[in-house]
């Protein structure tokens, strides 16, 4: 048990180390300073308070979106629309925030967050309903809705919500009243922590400690059995799509009311995609997602800091994140297994040769 835990920690650590060594080797061969890169990674993500602050700032959106994605994946729904759901959530909260116009923050802020969660959920349910009612593949529909949301944000920030400050050449929205902001531009504050802690707790409770959580995981694994057990799969599906969209919408509101204070066209373009990685690396569990989000948040902070202290081109830094993502889910099985063990080996431990998991999106039974 304990050995398993230790291995659970050591494995990702060793994988990350391998990835870093691999990339450092490339840097070294090309003549970049390896020590500067290592220093930069640490200085940018952990070793100073401001670096830690940066890490947390980038953890928050990954965490909130990753939690929602994890729940959806657990139920067997490949909802990859978090990016778009975050955008519509952010827009909804911004509209409420601008409407607030001096009204009491205790009224406006909660209203804005509720609006964001609802907007995200609605955006997600658009794909969800098509899936649940018609069986339309939600990968396709949720991804397409991302593109639509990107354009909606682009339109609103250069149209109805556009900032009237200055000459207005940037596709930036009006700013939210400073009184409504829940953090400064550092993006780290007590309210944001409370929101994150609540999100982790709600997800953990939903998944582990409620019947709905049990139903979510069983519907995802075997929908036929779920039907025979009287589980309302459509209902569970609605909850799941709504929850994951709501989480992403919440992330959008935190961004708008927290570090950003206003919206810009195409902000955080990669975060939805990284959140999928975070959810999967986190093993679709609340705590796992928290750890994975912290890790990828730190990586993001580091990669923003590196160009300040090294001469590496941005692409060289992106290479590091790519290689880490490439290896992060590899389990430490030695590459060269002995195919033909000596006959009558006295000791054992063999499993079937092709014990690999099927990688296709298939349920354990095909729905009838």
């Amino acid at each position: 048990m304990i050995a398993g835990r230790v291995r659970g920690v050591l494995r990702p650590l060793s994988v990350v180390s391998i990835a870093i060594v691999l990339v450092l080797l490339i840097y070294g061969l090309l003549g970049y300073s390896v020590t500067a890169v290592v220093d930069g990674v640490l200085a940018g993500s952990v070793t100073s308070p401001s670096a830690a602050e940066q890490t947390l700032r980038w953890t928050v959106p990954l965490l909130l979106m990753g939690l929602g994605i994890a729940v959806a994946f657990k139920a067997g729904y490949f909802n990859v629309g978090a990016q778009g759901q975050m955008y519509v959530g952010a827009m909804a909260s911004l509209v409420v925030g601008l409407w607030g116009d001096g009204r009491a923050p205790v009224l406006v802020i909660p209203l804005a967050f509720v609006a964001a969660v609802l907007a995200g959920a609605v955006w997600s349910l658009a794909a969800g309903l098509l899936r649940l009612l018609l069986g339309a593949d939600e990968v396709v529909t949720s991804l397409m809705l991302n593109f639509v949301a990107v354009l909606l944000l682009q339109w609103s920030t250069s149209g109805p919500l556009k900032s009237r400050a200055g000459t207005g050449q940037a596709a930036t929205s009006e700013s939210i009243d400073a009184g409504y902001r829940i953090s400064t531009s550092t993006g780290v504050s007590v309210p944001i922590f409370v929101i994150c802690a609540a999100a982790v707790a709600v997800t953990a409770i939903l998944v582990n400690w409620t019947r709905t959580g049990l139903e979510i995981s069983l519907v995802g694994r075997n929908p036929v059995m779920a039907r025979w057990q009287g589980i309302n799969s459509t209902g569970v599906g609605l909850v799941v799509f709504g929850f994951s969209g709501g989480c992403a919408g919440l992330a959008g509101a935190v961004e708008a009311f927290g570090p950003a204070g206003s919206l810009r066209a195409g902000f955080s373009p990669q975060v939805g995609f990284m959140a999928v990685v975070v959810a999967l690396v986190g093993g679709l569990g609340a705590l796992g997602v928290l750890l994975a989000a912290l890790f990828f948040g730190a990586l993001r902070a580091a990669s923003l800091y590196l160009p300040v202290v090294t001469n590496l081109p941005q692409s060289g830094i992106d290479l590091l994140s790519g290689v880490i993502a490439l290896l992060i889910t590899a389990t430490g099985i030695p590459l060269l297994r002995r195919r033909r063990r000596r006959r009558r080996a006295p000791t054992a431990g063999g499993t079937s040769e092709v014990a690999d998991r099927p990688v296709a999106r298939r349920r354990e039974v095909v729905a009838r």
Binding site: N208, W209, T210, R211, T212, G213, L214, E215, S217, L218, R221, N222, V224, M225, A226, R227, W228, Q229, G230, I231, N232, R340, R341, R343, R344, A345, P346, T347, A348, G349, G350, T351, S352, E353, E364, V365, V366, R368
Partner: protein, 519 residues
């Protein structure tokens, strides 16, 4: 016409002794983690005979079959066919040397058509050669004709009834002219006439010199067909291949179970004046998959009563069960449970009123194979359950129930797919036959279960009805129906063609099962 005539051609004339193949296993060992599924199994089976392998659920029969078939790599040991050693864990290697394995859980892809599936398993040369659709169909039709299976070559496997799939599995194994043929529990899903037909075929195959290995559970079947019988227990060989004439039924049963076999269950006499638990009028529902639509004038089951449904598979059993459970809608008719109308009620509502189900296919409708035991157990909501999930209590409850049912498991956290089929069935029973049960719909509850397990399951069902539960028992096993039922309704083409009360008349029931059909 012999099935092998067409394939063997001139060689079909060879005598049994000449053609006889031998299969030798030496010191086979298979381990899953620290668990030994097979341990030092050595045995030698000769062709030309029907070799039967028996053993409790989880004894290692399937594992043995898989090792020989190349699907499972052993940690030690060797397998030889006619002195030629098989490579470890290579299905294609085993198939090249003439070993074919027919799984109990079918291996034909549901998404393929019959013709495509047969082509997939073909071992003829020219895998890259283009074929026309017609050639494919003609080839499949020829193979089907040889084995006397009547299905449309263009039908999807998934749309066929189990019997046909079973027959197809054997057809696809025979297409490549096997020298060793292993059938893992081929009788489990077959109705009695199907078993008779299968045994005829098996006998013919054995006569042609093939080395046949047959995994069976029912002793009556063993004595009916076996030339040799081999017994596995807990992964060890406890009886090397032996002429069944040399072992008494009693001894064989003890060898299998490791102790004296339990007594058959005592079913309480049919209740007098007990309240009606399930009442249905004029039931009509659409066909479910390949199963017939049902048209049932009425059905009443009283507390403590067991009503058996007999019939050849595909005659409305599934439609009836699905309609009662509520997973398929009714077209017409009304249903009451304990006086409460449940005609249009949801599955959940029905379950909360005490309706329980033992489904047809435990791996599909019964459990989530990747879900843990306790999750599979906790999924049934009890009256005391709230919206939250008391994990610790649920796990405790699961352990208690599993222990009470003598399920062989390591931990309640292991996935249900790790259990052997018999133990999965017990897990389902442990879940369903629990507090609040009023009416049980049991479909083939002992299918694939070993002697001891089957008896235990039957006893448990008898006990449950003894305390006032009503039961509808669907079974392909007439002996089981006779043993448990108070009344038997025979379904044919979705209509009741006879209602019988004990003592049952086997001939009359058999006649009713085929009534209304041309042949």
């Amino acid at each position: 016409m012999s099935i092998l005539d067409a394939q063997d051609g001139p060689a079909g004339a060879r005598t049994r002794a000449e053609a006889a193949v031998t299969l030798d296993c030496e010191d086979l060992a298979v381990r899953f983690g620290s668990f030994s599924a097979l341990d030092g199994v050595s045995a030698s089976w000769r062709g030309g005979a029907v070799n039967v392998v028996v053993g409790q659920n989880g004894a290692g029969k399937t594992t043995l079959a898989r090792v020989v078939g190349g699907l499972q790599e052993p940690v030690a040991g060797r397998v030889r066919v006619d002195e030629a050693e098989l490579p470890w864990g290579s299905v294609s290697g085993a198939r090249q040397r003439g070993v074919e394995l027919v799984h109990q859980h079918f291996s034909l892809p549901r998404e393929f058509t019959v013709a495509q599936a047969l082509e997939l398993f073909s071992s003829a040369a020219g895998a890259a050669k283009l074929f026309s659709r017609r050639a494919l169909r003609v080839r499949a039709a020829a193979a089907l004709a040889r084995t006397g299976v009547e299905v449309d070559p263009d039908a999807k496997i998934g749309s066929l009834p189990v019997e046909s799939v079973q027959a197809l599995e054997i057809t696809r194994a025979l297409v490549s002219q096997p020298r060793v043929l292993i059938l893992d529990e081929p009788t489990a899903v077959l109705p009695p006439p199907g078993i008779t037909a299968l045994f005829e075929r098996v006998r013919e195959l054995a006569d042609s010199g093939i080395c046949l290995l047959l995994v069976l559970h029912k002793l009556s079947e063993v004595y009916e067909i076996a030339d040799t019988v081999t017994v596995l227990r807990d992964g060890r060989l406890v009886l090397p291949p032996t002429d069944p004439g040399e072992v008494s039924r009693q001894d064989l049963a003890e060898l299998i179970v490791g102790q004296a076999t339990p007594d058959p269950p005592k079913v309480a006499p049919p209740p007098e004046g007990a309240p009606v638990v399930l009442r249905a009028t004029a039931l009509a529902s659409r066909a479910s998959g390949h199963d017939a639509a049902i048209d049932l004038p009425g059905l009443e089951i009283a507390a403590g009563e067991i009503v058996g449904i007999a019939g050849v598979e595909g005659n409305g059993q599934r439609s009836l069960v699905e309609a009662l459970i509520g997973v398929a809608p009714l077209d017409d008719g009304q249903v009451w449970l304990d006086g409460v109308e449940i005609t249009g009620a949801s599955v959940r509502k029905r379950r909360s009123l005490g309706l329980r189900a033992i489904p047809f296919d435990r791996n599909v409708e019964g459990v989530s194979r990747s879900g843990s035991l306790w999750e599979n157990h906790a999924v049934l909501r009890r009256s005391t359950d709230r919206w939250w999930l008391a994990r610790r209590r649920q796990r405790q409850r699961c352990r208690n129930d599993l222990d009470r049912w003598n399920v062989r498991y390591r931990s309640e956290q292991q996935p249900a797919g790790d259990l052997s089929g018999g133990n999965v069935q017990k897990l389902i029973l442990a879940r369903e036959l629990n507090e609040g049960v009023r009416f049980i719909v049991a479909a083939h509850p002992t299918r694939g279960l070993d002697l001891g397990a089957a008896t235990a399951v039957r006893s448990a069902m008898a006990t449950a009805t003894g305390s006032g539960t009503a039961m509808l028992l669907v079974s392909a096993d007439l002996d089981e129906l006779f043993l448990l039922s108070h009344r038997i309704v025979v379904l044919c083409g979705g209509r009741p063609t006879g209602v019988f009360t004990a003592p049952f008349d086997r001939a009359a029931i058999g006649w009713a099962m085929t009534a209304g059909e041309p042949s």
